[in-house]
């Protein structure tokens, strides 16, 4: 089992912060300190277009809007404390029609331009992360100003602030949405992860995940229908898996009701009461990193977890049954995480800012089996790896 370098994108002039694969096209966008967003093809790893001139400082984070009809919509979060929304018309929105993107299309040049649509400002300081919700109706942003903002897309390029969450006591490093529910997570320099959901007409913090002993740099949800899990990576050199605890047994509640009927609210209201999020740490991934882990990504396809960080190392983890097939004596868990591959000095002496899983495409623009792992580094390089058994 090995993680093999299969290529890289043309080198960029400055640090590359992160990469984000397009929701359905063979494209990946990267954010750079040189204030530009570069979009590469996943078919031949060539540069497709460059979006620049919009932000006054580093573009720190990017996110593609899911379910954007007939166009591609990109959100960019910058250290200039603003968030930009960019649009590009899509030609032939069905996967294979995407040749038009790169193939000599002199006459289409105008249509293919990225059009700057809206600037969302409000943050007081650097925007650290931006993320669209699964349905694409909400955009979350977080900043060094310690706040997390939620914006609603009102259509017609009109966005409204629907929440300003001030629960963190320090710089907020990353925001991530649950793959199915409207549940938002944020991680911070205050060592915590917080979860938010809408309560009547306001977004509220519904859970605080504590355990890391230093900055939580990155978080990623698992995409697995029957359970909700989240992995986090921290400056404390650990990556941890958190899960939503199963709801408590109904039985107990009924008993309570009998004891003190007068104290119980009407059943109609009660229905909502057990929606409080109850999360706890499930596992700490095997410790390999010797410096800050800056990034973690949970593969939506294979369930593998990748981490990378200040030590220049990329590590892959897989969840397997315990050796004897029996639940672990300490944790009671019947599964455990194993390191299955690692690449030391993946960017030479440089730090790695992010690792991101993305689908694999053939030269014709059809998705094929397998998955790629992109790593972005301070050296301006985006490396492309593939995991093989």
């Amino acid at each position: 089992m090995a993680l093999k370098l299969v290529g890289n994108f043309p080198v960029q002039p400055d640090r590359v912060w992160c990469a984000a694969p397009h929701p359905h096209l063979p494209l990946v966008a990267t954010a750079s300190t040189d204030r530009a967003v570069r979009i590469y093809s996943l078919r031949d790893f060539s540069l497709v277009s460059t979006i620049e001139g919009g932000h006054k400082r580093s573009v720190r984070s990017i996110s593609w809007k899911p379910n954007a009809k007939g166009e591609s919509v990109l959100a960019t979060g910058s250290f200039d404390s603003s968030t930009g929304i960019w649009h590009r018309e899509e030609r032939g929105t069905h996967g294979d029609g995407e040749q038009s993107l790169e193939l000599n299309s002199e006459e289409r040049e105008e249509d293919e331009e990225w059009r700057f649509a809206v600037v969302l400002d409000g943050h007081d300081s650097e925007v650290k992360s931006v993320a669209w919700s699964a349905g694409g109706s909400f955009l979350a942003t977080c900043s060094r100003d310690k706040t997390v903002w939620i914006w609603e897309d009102m259509g017609n390029e009109n966005y409204e602030t629907i929440a300003v969450l001030q629960d963190h006591s320090q710089d907020v490093k990353m925001v991530a949405w649950h793959p199915e529910e409207e549940l938002l997570a944020s991680s911070s320099y205050d060592d915590t992860i917080r979860l938010y959901k809408e309560d009547t007409d306001d977004w509220v913090c519904c859970a605080v995940l504590t355990g890391h002993t230093s900055t939580v740099w990155s978080i990623s949800f698992e995409n697995n229908g029957h359970q909700s899990r989240l992995v986090s990576a921290s400056d404390d050199q650990t990556a941890r898996v958190w899960h939503r605890k199963p709801k408590p047994e109904k039985k107990e509640e009924e008993e309570e009701e009998e004891e003190e009927p007068s104290m119980q609210p009407p059943s109609i209201i009660k229905g909502t009461a057990d929606e409080t999020e109850n999360w706890e740490e499930q596992a700490c991934l095997p410790k390999v990193h010797t410096r800050t882990i800056y990034s973690v990504d949970w593969s939506k396809k294979t369930g593998l977890i990748a981490t990378a960080g200040g030590d220049g190392r990329i590590v892959l983890y897989k969840e397997v049954g315990t050796e004897n097939g029996l639940p672990d004596a300490d944790s009671g868990a019947s599964k455990e995480w194993k390191v299955i591959a690692q690449v030391p000095a993946a960017h030479g002496v440089y730090e790695i800012n992010s690792v991101t899983w993305c689908p694999k495409w053939d030269k014709l623009g059809t998705t094929i089996d397998g998955e790629l792992l992109l790593s972005t580094g301070d050296d301006g390089i985006v490396n492309i790896f593939e995991f093989s058994l």
């Binding site: 919009g54 200039d80 400002d121 001030q166």
Partner: protein
């Protein structure tokens, strides 16, 4: 709570933040008094003089001129305006009256001339906000009226037992709020009638919330022309007392005015250079201007003040003081007596909001000019947004529209729409193809949202979600000052609401609105119109007397100004600044 300055936000920095642009250094020692080397002095006097030469401090006024971190420095806030400060001043007065002739403890503005042997006397006046009474009423399980009497007893009697100095007068800010409401309606009517440089742009935004005012000055100066120029009730009453009281009690006496407010940001408001006697009085440039409000304490700090003087607030008698005096200003006395007899007609079932009811009051005053018109309420996208439409008698035409926006998130959406179009775009955003030609200027679409903000002619804006009853200085649901029976009842209600904070806020709001209930019940339409007229006549009389007494134009007394605060914190002009920002980031430990 205000996003600008909230109690929760106060634990960020104990000392000024690293980005503070105010150099903290020891100022050169002030030229010492021409002292006679042979003079015999006392130890007290020597230490007092030394204390004067301590390191320069950052004042709230400095913070207002900066948009950096400092506004959230707890140390600054607490040391300059707090219940301890009030007690210190009260105590110093006491000791001075016993015969100490040393002037070094004199408060700023009381005159710096050290050769004056006698310390000037002070008159202490407290003004109490209705939201403060509501918070205490909910906490003590009493009516707002009873709480009013208890506050009177606390400030006029209890804290002055044991030979200590107490307050001389306690006033309710509500009648002065009605003055502001009337003036605000006039201001809007003027703006609607003829738009000029002198009137604010439409929609006019309420200027009563100091959190919002500071936010605009620092973050959205382009929106400042929309801000109502009217002073807040706190500031208006401050000017009234400072300009009139000395005329009737003697020019050699200083008025020390303490406001009890639901809000921390009111401390910032009181520190504004725009709200001193320099704006309405011809004062010598060398003399430090005197603030119209000397000190602001919050609802909670009022109880702490009681604690410091060993008074248990909850055990005070809820009965009216038999001999409560009004300040000896004839115009004020006439006005207050008049206001008492003409109980405000209030909302007639409209949701006036918890912040003084600016919007509803203004709309009702404008409504009286359109016979048969009616006011329609529309719920906004959340409970902190509400739209009001004045419909003509036939129900067809919308005469005017107003809206209420409470809370930072809703303010964002309002402010964004009011900013000039060019400021809403990123400058020079462009994208280019790899092999493409030169970058093209972006075609940012104008318009989809630009007109939305201007459909209203007035917006009542408050920084706190839930409005002023939910101010940062109010008692919170888990406050130790809340009496047990109330805490239990709140906990029970919370089972249904799933939030103790919400249940508690509901109780405070209920107390706040209960003050108007009588009026609503007896509020027949004809009576209301008559009431309104007499009420306005009463207000106009006060304003007329005030101008006549002070010979200062009304504009100077009731209006104020705002200024854009230029900041170099967080703004970057080039590579150098980026480096500085990075350095700063590392110092605070944030990294990127």
């Amino acid at each position: 709570m205000s996003a600008i300055l909230s109690a929760d936000d106060l634990n960020d920095f104990i000392s000024p933040g690293v980005a503070c642009i105010k150099p903290v250094e020891t100022l050169p020692a002030a030229p010492s008094e021409p002292s006679n080397p042979y003079e015999v002095t006392t130890e007290d006097k020597v230490t007092a003089t030394e204390a004067k030469l301590q390191a320069a401090q950052i004042s709230l006024t400095d913070c207002l001129a900066c948009s950096g971190c400092v506004t959230s420095a707890e140390a600054v806030l607490v040391s300059l305006q707090s219940h301890q400060e009030v007690l210190t001043v009260l105590d110093s007065e006491d000791s001075c009256s016993v015969g100490s002739l040393n002037g070094s403890l004199q408060h700023v503005g009381a005159g710096e001339d050290a050769t004056v042997p006698n310390k000037r006397k002070r008159i202490f006046v407290a003004s109490v906000s209705p939201q403060t009474r509501a918070s205490l009423a909910a906490a003590m399980g009493r009516s707002t009226n009873e709480i009013g009497h208890m506050i009177d007893r606390l400030l006029l009697e209890s804290i002055s037992s044991n030979g200590k100095r107490g307050f001389d007068y306690v006033l309710d800010t509500a009648p002065f709020l009605s003055v502001c409401l009337h003036l605000a309606a006039q201001e809007l009517a003027d703006s609607l009638a003829n738009r000029s440089e002198k009137t604010p742009k439409l929609p006019i935004l309420t200027s009563e919330c100091p959190g919002f005012v500071c936010y605009l000055e620092k973050t959205h100066p382009a929106v400042l022309p929309h801000l109502s120029r009217l002073k807040s009730p706190q500031a208006l009453l401050g000017t009234l007392l400072k300009s009139l009281l000395p005329r009737y009690i003697g020019d050699d006496i200083d008025v020390y005015h303490v406001a009890v407010m639901p809000c921390f940001d009111k401390k910032l408001e009181a520190s504004r250079a725009e709200l001193t006697d320099a704006t309405w009085k011809d004062v010598d440039q060398d003399i430090t201007p005197t603030r119209d409000v000397d000190c602001v304490i919050t609802t909670r700090e009022l109880l702490q003040l009681a604690d410091f003087r060993d008074v248990d607030f909850s055990t005070l008698s809820p009965k009216a003081l038999p001999n409560k005096m009004l300040p000896p200003i004839p115009a004020l006395q006439t006005f207050l007596l008049g206001a008492r007899n003409l109980k405000d007609e209030q909302s007639l079932g409209l949701q006036v909001g918890t912040s003084g009811g600016y919007l509803v009051s203004i709309m009702q005053e404008l409504q009286s000019k359109h016979t048969g018109s009616k006011i329609i309420e529309k719920k906004g996208r959340n409970s902190d947004v509400m739209e009001f439409i004045l419909l003509s008698a036939d129900g067809e035409t919308e005469i005017l529209k107003m809206a209420r926006f409470y809370g930072f998130r809703n303010i964002q959406n309002l402010v964004r729409k009011l900013k000039p179009a060019k400021l809403r775009m990123l400058p020079g955003g462009a994208a280019r193809k790899v092999v493409g030609k030169t970058a093209r200027a972006p075609t940012a679409r104008a318009g989809t949202s630009s007109s939305v903000g201007s459909e209203y002619c007035y917006a009542e804006v408050m920084a706190c979600p839930g409005g002023c009853t939910n101010g940062g200085g109010q008692l919170k649901f888990d406050d130790s000052f809340i009496v047990d029976s109330v805490a239990q009842a709140t906990a029970n209600a919370a089972v249904v609401l799933r939030s103790e904070a919400k249940a508690w806020l509901g109780r405070v709001d209920e107390a706040y609105f209960s003050a108007d209930e009588d009026a609503i019940e007896t509020g027949r339409k004809d009576l209301i119109v008559r009431n309104r007229e007499s009420r306005i006549a009463n207000i106009d009389q006060l304003l007329e007397d005030w101008v006549a007494d002070t010979r200062v134009p009304l504009d100077k007394l009731v209006y104020t100004t705002y200024r854009a605060v230029e900041s170099n914190v967080g703004k970057v002009d080039g590579e150098m600044s980026t480096l500085q920002a990075a350095e700063l980031a590392q110092k605070v430990g944030g990294g990127w």
